[in-house]
Symmetry: C2
Subunit: 370 residues, 2 copies
């Protein structure tokens, strides 16, 4: 990102875009369109919504967390006829709920379902959602902010229409750019829809045209962010996706073994939980803000707060990308062991790191060198 800036219409920059587009395609596992929206993951979210449906259209949103609720807010602002299918936070949604809703709303234009809900720590059956959406003639878009490069994702095989991610999760680049994949089917829809998307900045067909073979000018591209994303994606492909997924699984396993040894409650079931993000129910009497502040101030460890319904009830531990290594698992377990007694929650000394060690001996983390 410290390289000199070149023009966003410079032929040398187009070469970089072409290269990065191909590399992103490998990460998303697609031979269709892969590029990046110039904004946060939420810009990718809004780009999908505004591009893939028009005001008045029926849009079904599967909701099982805070970021699903953000999608609903956006979709309502955009004037869609929003059908929210709400499932308990912390659970994977039963696809039958979607099948029933699609039967009731055969006019549905778009189905939306998040793959890995970061607020609730759950993985969701999006391949099945996509299949049901297409059977009903709808498009399917998903959020892979936390899943991309951290667990299995197969854009083409699962027949997704649009997936957006963030740069700062398992890709381990700085935040501020949203890698996306788009199906040709979805691109055709955008190009032929009766009215253009209400947003020009987030119109996915215009962004795809800038990243496409003709490199049609749109807004000025964030050149340094694209440099940074290129390097981060290169590191992912050097490690290989399979090894990176394995690394996320092994370190999450070790973390969970340690948290169990601390007698902390992880409310998400084995089948429904994420490796990238582990949800812990706060023990009775432990104050959310005080605990997180102490971890940050005394141990330089930032853990996530509970969002929405989970505010004050849980903390969320991310192990993603570059930070997903045994050293960080041990650092956090050690910090929790030291800090929790200050909050009135007694723990056995040394048990957590010993449990994590044992788990890593059994299921080792691949070595990671940046």
């Amino acid at each position: 990102m410290s390289l000199p800036i070149i023009g966003y219409l410079d032929p040398a920059f187009f070469e970089l875009l072409d290269e990065l587009s191909g590399m992103l395609g490998e990460v998303f596992k697609t031979k269709q369109r892969a590029f990046a929206v110039a904004g946060a993951g939420s810009a990718g979210m809004e780009a999908g919504l505004v591009s893939l449906a028009a005001p008045g259209d029926t849009v079904i949103i599967c909701s099982y967390g805070y970021f699903c609720e953000r999608q609903i807010i956006m979709a309502e602002r955009l004037g869609f006829n929003v059908i929210a299918l709400r499932t308990e936070w912390g659970k994977s949604m039963d696809p039958q709920v979607l099948a029933d809703a699609l039967k009731e709303h055969p006019e549905t234009q778009l189905v939306v379902g998040i793959h890995a809900e970061t607020s609730a720590g759950t993985i969701q059956p999006i391949a099945e959602f996509a299949r049901l959406a297409h059977e009903a003639g709808a498009l399917f878009m998903t959020d892979v902010v936390t899943s991309l490069a951290g667990c299995e994702l197969e854009f083409d095989e699962w027949d997704l229409d649009f997936a957006y991610s963030g740069s700062q999760k398992c890709l381990a680049a700085p935040p501020g750019i949203s890698p996306v994949a788009l199906s040709e089917r979805a691109l055709d829809y955008i190009r032929n829809r009766p009215v253009p998307p209400t947003s020009w900045y987030l119109d996915l067909s215009l962004i795809a045209d800038y990243w496409g073979p003709d490199h049609v000018a749109h807004h000025t591209a964030p050149v340094s962010m694209i440099y940074g994303l290129r390097e981060a994606v290169g590191m992912v492909l050097n490690e290989t996706l399979a090894t990176r997924w394995k690394r996320h699984e092994a370190n999450a396993d070790a973390l969970r073994a340690g948290l169990e040894a601390l007698n902390l409650d992880m409310p998400i079931s084995k089948e429904e939980r994420l490796d990238q993000l582990t949800v812990i129910k706060l023990p009775k009497g432990v104050d959310d803000v005080k605990l997180r502040t102490q971890l940050l101030d005394e141990y330089s460890i930032e853990v996530g707060r509970g969002l929405g319904k989970f505010a004050g009830e849980v903390i969320r531990i991310g192990l993603m990308g570059e930070s997903c290594v045994p050293a960080n698992v041990f650092a956090l377990l050690n910090a929790l062991e030291k800090v929790l007694p200050d909050h009135g929650f007694e723990v056995a000394k040394g048990a957590a790191t010993a449990a994590a060690s044992a788990k890593l001996a059994e299921n080792p983390s691949p070595l990671y060198t940046a």
Copy 2:
């Protein structure tokens, strides 16, 4: 920008936001809100439009260039009743045209006028536009992408409601973030409008709340871009705005003296032209693409192409921010002297750089050290 990333909700990061907000206020010359939209200048443009008017509202757009036409496209997509006041490209708009339109459309919610039109190379009387808009009870928003930190701009004194810029022009930061200023009057309107803006990502009231005293979470902030903007704005304030404006004027003067000595035609009048960007009419027979490609390939100098109506007719020479120094004036004049004869346009050897030298002796550029 190479500093380690910290969380966008980390108290240490809030300190940085507070500091940068104050510094941006100094650059915009406002004691009201100053912050940054997480996207290109076009994101700032769309944020203003989507936030300051609602579908069906009458919005007057003063149009005298390519980026004004982009505003019109955005405003039409947003479902506004768009009144486009088109003035000849290369001229400043007569405020009487706006006064007449406001008389005809007393229901106008928002007036839009670009300060420095980069495609046409013109400066526009936005203080007068703002006065007329307010007399008619409308809000006034402007584009200061090319003007901010390159020529006089007085947000509060001129009583503007919203101004957006880009990071990569006279601020000389990498592209990808849009510094903005917002009046309390405009913020009140957004907070109290009957329906929220159709965009959540670009809702200026939500972005202002993240940058405000309570730092309410919105999307993940582009941390490294904010680091970069902080440094760039620091360099602007170290130089002082007055000196920076003077530097832009002195180097543009020298450039223009050199271009005149080359017998090149600068079609914008002295009163209407910008210092940051100089428009040259291509001499008969000189091919736009060949000339620009040769300058880029042989001299590593990128000059702008003509946009819209001006495509193929002009080239545009930017002298902005860090690049606005005598060395670059001489480099370009020397390159043109060498290259133009290849395109059938003969020039007097040495005349251009001599004329620029003479002008700089008379009206020196302040020294600039990064």
